[in-house]
């Protein structure tokens, strides 16, 4: 049930992220907005999935949640910042040690604070 919820949110995010890859001002935004809006029809289910089961599975998609396109862009930015922070913090640690490559041990050090911040 949880997976259903995540399902479409992530579909949308993916569209967004492929646009975000350019990293310049998201020029591809209009494209994914349209795609995301198509997918929004399939959006995630409510926690009342238990109820829908009781009703003999007739109202499976009892109350699908939708997402605003702007909210989508914003959450995409959030995820992008997450990844950026992770990489930049790990790189800082790696530089401090004098290495030229970011390794697992660097990621380990920044992980707790990163998770607390997000």
């Amino acid at each position: 049930m949880d997976k259903k919820r995540r399902k479409v949110k992530i579909e949308e995010q993916n569209q967004i992220n492929s646009a975000m890859d350019d990293h310049e001002t998201p020029v591809l935004e209009p494209i994914w907005t349209r795609k995301a809006q198509e997918r929004e029809g399939i959006d995630f289910h409510q926690t009342d999935a238990m109820d829908s089961e009781v009703v003999a599975g007739t109202s499976k998609k009892i109350r699908p949640t939708f997402a605003n396109p702007n909210a989508l862009k914003l959450s995409c930015e959030l995820v992008r910042i997450f990844i950026t922070e992770a990489v930049q913090r790990a790189a800082t640690v790696a530089e401090g040690e004098g290495g030229a490559k970011v390794e697992a041990i660097h990621l380990e050090r920044i992980l707790p604070q990163l998770l607390l911040d997000f």
């Binding site: 930015e77 959030l78 997450f82 950026t84 930049q88 490559k101 997000f118």
Partner: protein, 141 residues
């Protein structure tokens, strides 16, 4: 007994579908995450990241998105809405003040880019709300 079996079969099928869909999404997401990570690493004087680390970060971000999706749905439901709005996203970033601030500025940029033929009676430039935003959380949409 039969009914239970049927239902569990149906659920199993659904779960398998969900799994395959989520795996597909995870893979696609991983591609984007990898390219973002590579770009960011290169920005810092051409540092390299080892592949397993990037994969770790990508998986971490994927799980984070799952949590985020759940949170946003709860926020929207709590507000009695069916759709997730920008205010929900900003609230979900409440733990880190800098994060919330940068999201707000991103949101304002988005709003400024929108064509002037916007919504109902309100005035178009809502930049005045930026100051008030910190104090009174106005649900914009």
């Amino acid at each position: 007994m039969e009914i239970d079996e049927d239902r569990s079969d149906f659920e199993k099928d659904e779960e398998e579908d969900d799994d395959s869909v989520s795996d597909l999404l995870r893979d696609r997401f991983r591609l984007s995450a990898i390219s973002i990570a590579e770009y960011e690493a290169a920005k810092r004087n051409g540092m390299e990241i080892s592949q397993p680390i990037v994969a770790c970060i990508a998986d971490l971000a994927f799980k984070y998105i799952g949590q985020l999706a759940k949170d946003l749905e709860l926020f929207a439901h709590h507000a009695g809405r069916k759709s997730v709005t920008m205010a929900d996203v900003i609230v979900s970033a409440h733990r880190n003040e800098h994060l919330a601030a940068s999201l707000r500025s991103f949101r304002d940029e988005l709003k400024a880019k929108e064509p002037q033929c916007e919504r109902k009676r309100k005035k178009v430039p809502r930049k005045d709300d930026k100051a008030i935003e910190g104090i009174v959380h106005i649900p914009d949409l």
